[in-house]
Amino acid sequence: MLRIKDVNLTKILPIALILVILVFPPYFLSVYYLTIVRNLLMWIALSISWHFFSGYTKYISLGSAAFFGIGLYFTAKYLQLSTVGDFPVLPLPVIVLLAGLVTFALALVIGLVTLRLRGIYFAILTFSVSIVVSNVINWWEITITGTRGTYFPLFDSQTAYYAIFACTIVTLLLTTLLRRSKFGLALKMIGECEEAAAHVGVNASLYKTLGFAISAMLIALMGGCFATRLSGYVNTDMAFESLYSFLPAVNTLLGGMGTVYGPIIGSITVSLLSEYLRVTLTHYFLITLGLILIAIVMFMPDGIMGIVEKIKTTKLFRIEKAKVPEKPP
């Protein structure tokens, strides 16, 4: 576990400083830039949560949208029902936590059944789960309750910002702590070679399932916080949009799989790039984004962190840093 003497101040300080700076934006940024920062934080948190499981174990999950949507929907539904008076009124963080716990339980079950599959099968399966959940809720709404979507009370933009900010911090802290524990090591080992991990006594299925569920819970927490930035209405198409499944994966792959900063850098790049292109090349922005994606895969296949690693291993830097972590052959 994390001990005080392990903490490297030069590493911690800049991060803490950035976090402190991020507390204040609502007071001086205009609404537009506030939205950008908020979305940035959201994608960072989602990518980190995704990477926590899929990045280390290399089980590519494309079902994030399911968990994001469940968190979002649960929160919205609860808010709606508590204003009507069916459920006791609770503060927002408690509701979001509840949503997280519900998703945790659900993901535990899904993980138990599905994590026997590997590779592309697992990806398809998780994607199917998100489609099934979305369609069942949609069907339930239209045929049983007779309405489409859920209405719930509005939140102002400051609450939305702080909710998402808080959620990002929770995600960062939890994944960092877990990564440094035995748990994170076990996940990494499963990613390197599952058979060997099982052989030396790592309970692979337990760790996989738990890791999957924790990752799902964090995604759902963000989903719940996301409810605060919507304009009081949500339906299944919005909540379960497949973007939430794919973009965390794309961000992470771009930033670099299996690295600590990969998902963060990837999300920042993709979000800012798409925002910039959206403004400057309104019509051709998705085309350009696609071209850039392909170019990245073709010319810097290890992601941005791969290039950073390469620079580190060149002669200039080798002197001060003797031991560069070797990539497995």
């Binding site: 290399k58 592309i120 069942v136 392909i294």
Partner: protein, 273 residues
């Protein structure tokens, strides 16, 4: 028709190990090509197969040689290749969708053809559905014969089974990759041509939905198994239409639940190796 889309995707995955998420996009392109020829030159959609097919083929080969060839070369192991090609396919999806949307706009199109009902065995069918079904069977059969009895088919099967071995006996695997990618795109484009005859709600954004149906089909049938794709296509199609009868809203949920249950029971599909 689901089979047809899936056979193409399966061919691409089986031979090149690239899971082409942009597969549905070729279908959409095929549909648009047929639509353009139908509305502006009055070309019979069945005849325009000879146009949309080759266009898909050329597009597929082009993309394979320009993009994926390099990715295959720089990737060290299969996992890396899979994740990178996934990312590239995403980019591709964005590009193709939006180029088409830029040119044709995003209003739904359709080139309704042979849209009359006929009686067959006491049931009413739409003629174009039957034509599409018959065409699918013919094309699948042609594909099977190509794979089974020609030398290029043999080379493709060899490459899918043992790439390095195939290279050793003198097969140019990059050429084979390109050809199979092109053929996959061709099949997809043909399916698109048929789709545009039947439905009138084709937009530039329909691709992904068919990609995932195709994925479901090949997983059901077994990766890399040709017969599996056909059988899987029929199964998914059957489940799809039965649930459509019961309640259109629940269709996707039923199809994917079916897939999930099958994956859990038999992870390699019906005919998986």
């Amino acid at each position: 028709m689901f089979s047809l889309i899936a056979v193409g995707l399966n061919l691409q995955y089986g031979v090149t190990r690239i899971l082409n998420i942009a597969h549905g996009e070729f279908l959409m392109v095929g549909a648009y090509v047929t639509y353009v020829f139908f509305t502006s030159y009055g070309v019979n959609p069945l005849v325009s197969f000879v146009i949309s097919g080759p266009i898909g083929f050329i597009l597929g080969i082009l993309i394979q040689t320009v993009v994926f060839r390099r990715i295959v070369q720089v990737s060290r192991f299969a996992e890396e290749l899979e994740s990178r090609s996934l990312l590239a396919c995403f980019g591709l999806t964005f590009i193709i969708q939006n180029v088409v949307a830029e040119i044709f706009g995003s209003t739904p199109i359709g080139a309704s053809y042979l849209n009359v009902s006929i009686n067959l065995l006491g049931e009413r069918f739409q003629l174009n559905l039957i034509v599409a079904a018959v065409m699918s069977v013919i094309i699948s059969l042609a594909m099977y014969l190509l794979l089974r009895f020609t030398s290029i088919g043999l080379a493709m099967r060899a490459t899918s089974e043992e790439p390095s071995g195939a290279q050793l006996v003198g097969i140019n695997i990059f050429k084979i990759h390109a050809v199979s990618f092109g053929l996959g795109a061709l099949l997809s484009a043909l399916a698109g041509s048929m789709l545009v005859m039947i439905y009138s709600n084709i937009t530039p954004y329909i691709g992904p939905q068919y990609t995932f149906i195709a994925l479901a089909v090949i997983i059901l049938g077994g990766m890399g198994s040709f017969i599996g794709s056909l059988v899987g296509g029929f199964c998914i199609g059957y489940v799809y239409y039965i649930s459509l009868e019961i309640d259109p809203l629940i269709t996707l949920a039923v199809v994917y639940s079916f897939l999930i249950i099958l994956l859990i029971i038999r992870p390699k599909g019906f005919f998986g190796r």
